[in-house]
């Protein structure tokens, strides 16, 4: 699985700019599914047909990563920007970014009297040019950039930018591949969504189009197993987390039971997640139309929204198993 993960995490894809990922993912899954549709917003909806008499399940992982959007280019060619999604300003300084056309740059900051004065408006991107004219040959206002960072393989633990949520995309690809020769009763819609990081937007329109009986998001969650960590009882390597609550959703008790029973019946390790912040595509899915049963399989992740997010591959493999069993048995 590391190959597809490496490919996905090293690809450019801030919110609304998921085109390069769309190409890779469509290529990876085309021969394994019965139909692929790309909607107005850019979601990929891949359909694996069931027997036509059973239920409809939507699995969703988001393609987009947090990024920056250029709002101003000054006379010397330095770029100013606004955040796309939950950017942590402290993580930006010294970081490297890339644009859709391959242009790269570094982020730096105006001289500060104190680190307490740090503010996103004091940061800028240097793309190695001397003037506005030169800069505008490479970058325009409204262009978005994402971080660049190589995939780092630490054995069982892997580190990369945008594991949120390329790891979810990789899990869906793996599920699709493993289900190749298996005829499921249920109709399954593997959905690679856009614009999750700016407000769960892609999942909203995709869920409307699919109108599933069950929606399962696959996303990362914050781990609480580091020095002085966030107060959440989630550990890398102890299994995928079954989400019970975050800001966007309280998991329906029937879905909670379904997910826990499925994991226990198949001896798949799992943890229970109660996250005091954040949200996932499941939040948008469960409020679509007249309401949809929804849940979320979360991959424990350290250093979320930094260029070095870390997950444990065992949790990923177990998430694939759990996803497949839900698709088979719901």
């Amino acid at each position: 699985m590391k190959n597809i993960i490496k490919k996905l995490v090293e690809t450019y894809g801030p919110p609304g700019n998921e085109q390069q990922l769309r190409e890779i993912l469509i290529q990876e899954i085309t021969e394994y599914v019965d139909g692929i549709k790309v909607d107005v917003l850019g979601n990929i909806i891949a359909h694996k047909k069931g027997n036509g008499k059973s239920k409809r399940i939507m699995f969703a992982a988001h393609m987009d990563e947090i990024g920056l959007i250029i709002t101003h280019i000054d006379k010397d060619g330095f770029l100013r920007f606004s955040p796309m999604g939950g950017i942590k300003v402290n993580n930006l300084i010294g970081d490297r970014v890339q644009f859709a056309n391959g242009t790269k740059g570094v982020i730096s900051c105006e001289e500060l009297k104190s680190w307490k004065d740090i503010d996103i408006n004091k940061l800028y991107i240097d793309i190695g040019v001397n003037s506005k004219d030169e800069a505008e040959k490479l970058v325009n206002i409204g262009d978005a950039c994402g971080m660049t960072r190589e995939f780092l393989d630490l054995g069982s633990r892997i580190v990369a930018k945008s594991l949120d949520d390329r790891i979810g995309c990789a899990i869906l690809v793996e599920m699709i591949h493993k289900l190749k020769n298996i005829q499921l009763d249920n109709d399954v819609y593997f959905t690679f969504t856009v614009q999750e990081e700016v407000g769960l937007r892609g999942a909203k329109t995709a869920a409307y189009a699919i109108s599933p009986d069950l929606g399962i998001a696959i996303d990362i969650t914050i781990a609480g197993d580091t020095p002085e960590p966030p107060k959440v009882d989630i550990h890398l390597g102890k299994g995928p987390a079954i989400k019970l609550k975050d800001v966007s959703m309280i998991t329906n008790p029937a879905v909670k039971k379904l997910m826990i029973d499925t994991a226990e019946n198949h001896q798949i390790p799992y943890q229970l997640e109660v996250l005091p912040y954040g949200g996932t595509d499941a939040g948008a899915i469960h409020l679509t139309k007249d309401g949809i049963l929804a849940g979320c399989i979360s991959i424990p992740c350290r250093y979320v929204h930094s260029p070095s997010e870390m997950v444990d591959l065992q949790d990923v493999i177990h998430a694939v198993q759990l996803g497949i069993k839900i698709a088979e048995e719901f």
């Binding site: 609304g16 000054d74 606004s82 955040p83 796309m84 409204g142 329109t205």
Partner: protein, 342 residues
């Protein structure tokens, strides 16, 4: 003059009736059908029988303002903001209250009574009151009541070379553009929607997009321009006189790249100046419309407004005229090729 008529009318969010009446009167001769929905949106259609992409044009009728929340024993009114208003701009402004437009002035404790530290901190809305010249609560209650809407009073005036000042340009400029557009003939189904309650959460657009169910949507907005002394050029957002603005991103939507490309080509081909909105804050009806059902291809064209959300805002009339022209060219183009064909 349309802009004068529209901006001097009052329509604080949820109380758009006066604006609605003017718009209905203006557009009736030019549209096939007019409907006012449950929450007060005007949905006017032209050519609804034609095939082709169904275009929804939207501009919001409401403006920011206030509501009376209590009447004090001395006859002064306490009030709260409806929509986003900078409380520093309020003291000594002329307002009108309720349906009968009772005159009032926003007041505050006199400066010589303010403590030293109070003078350096802007007054909050809680510290302000509206004075309607009543001596007692009973006297005030004869003309105003709790829940009455309060609107700024501001005369529309032209000034300088092609500038105008007034209130509520956000978004009466958009309403005026739609009215002018409806006077033209187009060869495609068009639904012009004048929405309510945009300023307090894009509420009108939410239900209107459900009713219209468009294939394509274009929102005409008034947007902030901060091209003034003391602002670094990187924070201008837009500039007056540089033409209509397209957005790249705001709190509600990441711009549709196809729309932005298409509208840029149209502007270039017709020598209409176009600027890019340099910021990612704010939001408008597009935020709701583009996520309707399975998703709607949606674009926004904005007219720059200085001192937006205040009693005296300023626009450039050429920007306004160019927005009408650009919108017309956009619809002509889309109707000719049944979509945004580049």
């Amino acid at each position: 003059m349309l802009l004068k008529k529209l901006t001097e009318a009052n329509g604080v969010s949820g109380n758009e009736d006066e604006v609605r009446r003017i718009i209905i009167e203006e557009i009736t001769p030019f549209v096939d059908n007019i409907k006012v929905d449950v929450i007060g949106n005007i949905i006017a259609s032209k050519n609804h029988h034609l095939s082709g992409p169904k275009l929804m044009l939207a501009a919001h009728m409401d403006e920011v303002g206030f509501m009376v929340v209590s009447i004090e024993s001395n006859g002064l009114l306490k009030f709260r903001a409806v929509g986003g208003i900078d409380s520093r701009i309020l003291v000594s402004k002329h307002v009108v209250i309720g349906e009968n437009k009772i005159n009032g002035v926003i007041g505050a404790k006199a400066i010589h009574l303010q403590k030293r530290n109070e003078r350096t901190i802007p007054l909050t809305i809680e510290q302000l009151y509206i004075d309607i010249g009543a001596k007692t609560k009973e006297e005030a209650e004869k003309t105003v009541k709790i829940g009455d809407y309060v609107a700024f009073v501001s005369e529309y005036l032209t000034m300088g070379d092609n500038y105008a000042k007034g209130k509520a340009f956000d978004d009466r400029v958009g309403c005026a553009v739609l009215i002018e557009i409806l006077k033209h003939q187009f060869d495609m189904p068009i639904y012009a929607v004048f929405t309510v309650q945009e300023e307090i959460g894009l509420r009108g657009a939410t239900v209107a997009s459900y009713a219209v169910n468009p294939d394509l949507a274009l929102i005409i907005e008034g947007t902030t321009a901060s091209d003034v002394v003391g602002t670094d050029s990187k924070h201008y957002v837009t500039q007056l006189g540089k033409g209509p603005a397209i957005s790249v991103m705001d709190r509600g939507m990441i711009a549709n790249p196809i729309f932005n490309k298409y509208i840029t080509i149209i502007a270039n081909n017709n020598n209409i100046p176009l600027q890019v909105r340099q910021g990612a804050t704010g939001g408008n009806d597009a935020g709701k419309i583009h996520l309707h059902k399975e998703g709607v291809t949606t674009g926004v064209i904005s007219i720059p407004v200085r001192y937006i959300h205040s009693t005296n805002s300023i626009i450039n009339i050429q920007d306004y005229d160019n927005t009408i022209l650009l919108t017309k060219m956009f619809i002509d183009g889309v109707s000719k090729t049944k979509g945004m064909t580049i």
